[in-house]
């Protein structure tokens, strides 16, 4: 058997193509587990909507669909930038600028998403008494409304944590490409995987938005 390509002996692969295939597959499986984490929340929301349709609709009507729609647009634009960057990364060093600028732009948009989510939405919800255990008393009486809001906070907060991680990942990758710590096109797969993570964060929101905001 040939000696491992990697002198540290870490590399079990015979060739780079298989290694890339394995890495890509590992990344997709990881994304599947992330999707399953949110699947539990979606299932819970589905149960509430089936058991207490009025309560869920009533609670949902207190959310701000226009702000949510604006945030959705922000994430979609960020995803577009990420997709363009990932393609540019494969073209090599001459399109380095597009790669890092796209990632940096997407990271900024992600930060904007968080600012709107926390600064506008959560702040208003705190003043209206929707935040569990803080602020004024919960104002809606309908069955299931409080559970709907609690799950809204659990789901959007967990998603916000993912957005934050995504912003850090994109910013780190942008910095790496800009400072040439990451070589293109050699490190294009790493750029692609960072982008895949961002797309996951985006697609989870695309499901969360209608399920939470557009119930009524």
């Amino acid at each position: 058997m040939k000696e491992a390509a990697d002198p540290s002996g870490l590399d079990p692969y015979e060739d780079g193509e298989t290694r890339l295939k394995a890495q890509r597959m590992g990344m997709w499986l990881f994304l599947a587990t992330e999707a399953m984490i949110f699947a539990g929340l979606f299932l819970s929301l589905f149960v509430i909507r089936t058991l207490h349709p009025e309560g869920a609709a009533e609670a949902s009507s207190h959310l701000k669909p226009m702000v949510g729609a604006g945030n959705t647009a922000i994430l979609i634009i960020a995803s577009t930038l990420v997709a363009l960057s990932s393609v540019a990364a494969k073209d090599g060093d001459e399109r380095r600028f597009i790669t890092w600028a796209g990632f940096a732009g997407a990271a900024l948009l992600g930060a904007l998403f968080l600012a709107i989510k926390i600064g506008v939405e959560y702040r208003a919800e705190f003043h209206e008494g929707f935040i569990p255990g803080a602020g004024p008393a919960f104002p809606i009486q309908a069955d299931g409304a409080q559970l709907f809001f609690n799950l809204y906070f659990a789901a959007t907060a967990l998603h916000a944590v993912h957005v934050l991680i995504g912003v850090l990942v994109l910013a780190g990758a942008a910095l790496g490409v800009w400072r040439r710590w990451l070589k293109l096109p050699d490190n294009a797969p790493e750029i692609e995987f960072c982008g895949l993570y961002w797309h996951l964060v985006d697609i989870i929101w695309i499901f969360l938005f209608p399920v939470l905001y557009l119930v009524g």
Partner: protein, 564 residues
Amino acid sequence: MTDIPLAPERSKNFWTAKETVKSWFLTTDHKRIAILYAATLFVFFFIGSAGAAVIRLEMITPGADVVSAEGYNRAFTLHGIIMVWFFLVPLIPTTFGNFLLPLMLGAKDLAFPRMNMASWYIFIFSGLLALTAIWLGGLETGWTFYTPFSAVYADGWVTLSIFAVFVSGFSSILSGINFIVTTHTLRAPGMTWFRMPLFVWSLYATSLVMILATPVLAITLLLIIAERAFGIGVFDPSIGGDPLLFQHLFWFYSHPAVYIMILPAFGVISELVTAGARNRIFGYKFIAFSSLAIAVLGFLVWGHHMFTSGQSMYAGIVFSFLSFLVAVPSAVKAYNWAATLYKGRITLNTPFLYAVGFVGLFVFGGLTGVILAALAVDVHVHDTYFVTAHFHYIMVGAAVTAFLGAVHFWWPKITGKLFNETLGRAAAVLLWIGFNLTFFPQFILGYLGMPRRYNAYDPEFQIWHVLSSAGTPILALGYLLPVFYLGWSWFKGRDAGPNPWRAQGLEWTTSSPPPKHNFLGPVKVTREAYDYPKQDPYKGPLPRTAAQEAEDDRREGKSAEDRR
């Protein structure tokens, strides 16, 4: 096989490649990580057993005399949390899965060696968190953390324990991803999907369950933590939650988790039965696909834990039907193992005895599972010792017996040494007797109406409890005996050579213990798995296994030197 040296150079086997402490704690060698996992699980097994010992001691008399009710609750919670989350779930995948998967596929290592090491560190970290929670005083929720009890009423270290289990899930997920990607990308040339050993198939099915179900447990536990720490009411009715939601989410993971424990055991038994009977497996594809079928059906039966919870009657009927269906792929396996023995040339060696014991215990556990899947019967025996006995037959009787069978079967491969066959057989039989004596009376107790998790009971139940407690020391002896003779063989055992059982399978073609990168030459697979030679039993003797040769020598009073 002739070109493999019987005693490889010292520097070439994975134990001796580098002998510093650092080389072990920073290793990325799947074999060493398997050994690290095994050592860790060994410690957890003894801590979990201490909880069981308290339970069985208390149950000898009807009154509450050994521990208080609270102490009893803490003892069975300790036993459940440690045994389920920190022993049984990782048991076979992290030890034999890690050790054997690359060897069976003809690969140098798993797909992501560093991630494999990370999974062990995550496991250690979560285990230390759980032990801290127990050391600080423990908790009383039982291993299932049912709400609203765990979310509102329970004191003790509930949040810390739940966090520990949450963290341990990531170690499972990383192992699962690693195994699946390895199976897809690192098969040796010629190792087609249907030439893979059935252990690999079962590990693949297990990994699917691990990566799809564990995240749901993670979010469930996270929601309890959010509820206890921040008052985000999801399960507590007084702040708007729904306690039943927890049971749905919890069993969506925890029923498939039972298959995480038993599927790799099925794989082990397929290896042990074929090697013991020296016969090709009966219905290879049926066994391979039945593993996948069990993995898929496992996701659809969680509601059978909730027949008495007040869920809809129609849901109960559907869950009951689907639970009956699981019996089909399970029975396929049991029948195929039996059919593999037909016209085989059976050697009643230690691994084979464990395998046969496994089939017996598994059939018992499985059939009582069918009884429990029946809606009306379950209402009668729900939360009684009948359930306790049923899941111990599967999760302990079957899974741990398979694990010990695997330990004996692959011990010569892992250590390069042969153990004492006579003591090995004695331990296999002791284990089987001790286990049945401990847990069979619990079926009767449960059917008579003894509820689980009580520290005092009516005197009429005492005889069955005494029998059950009397089985425990025999069972303990069955577990402890191997520690001594295997430990002895470690230092004094005869060299095993590459293939002491004359078994098929790629792992037996390399030296024992395997070298750091598993194989000394290139690997090419040209035959199906379990390609045992078809021989006319009346013509020519079977090749003697190394274990049999050692036994003959012992009888004739020869020493290892004489033979050489």
